[in-house]
Amino acid sequence: MIIYLSIIAFILTMLLMISLVYILRAPDNADCLLSTQLVGTIGVVILAMLSIIKNQPYLLDIALVLALLTSILVLTFTQLSKDTS
């Protein structure tokens, strides 16, 4: 079972890298925000899987903090660009 979960986590890591490269090549600011939100969600899933693969429950706390930080980041950037424009 752990082997299958490791394979799924590896494929998710590949998707994470593709999204990170897309942040560099994004045509617009809003695209960067969308891609950042995807990176945050994939990071949460990878951490939740690692907590089962490594059998260490504290990784769930890190996943919770990462989900919170991603939402705060997107919220802050949208309000920032609204103020400047």
Binding site: I18, A30, L33, I52, P57, L68, L75, T78
Partner: protein, 109 residues
């Protein structure tokens, strides 16, 4: 493998499918709002299915509760953030012109 593990694997693989679809959609879709649409599928369906798959593997009830808490938090935050990004796209004037132009091009074709 027991039947619980087959259940877990089935849900994890279907969640992975939605993540792959969301990433490909984010890269390949033409307009901003359609990219937002693809991202929402990855956020809600992908994360939800994978967390349903991971729930029976958890060691204690406390950790299961924490996993469900992550799911609820991501659902609420992704709904709010998608609304904010979409309102920024729609109120931004160059973006709106771009959206109108691409849609009219498709109609001409």
């Amino acid at each position: 493998m027991t039947i619980i593990q087959w259940f877990s694997l089935l849900f994890c693989v279907s969640g992975l499918f939605f993540f792959i679809a969301g990433t490909i959609g984010l890269i390949r879709f033409p307009t901003m709002l359609s990219r937002l649409h693809a991202l929402t599928k990855a956020d809600n369906l992908g994360l939800g299915l994978i967390i349903i798959g991971l729930l029976p593997q958890m060691s204690s009830f406390n950790n299961m509760l924490k996993l469900v808490l992550i799911w609820v938090l991501v659902m609420f935050s992704s709904a709010a953030c998608s609304y904010l990004i979409a309102s920024q796209i729609v109120t931004d004037k160059p973006h709106r012109n771009k959206l109108i132009n691409t849609s009219s091009k498709k109609e001409n074709k």
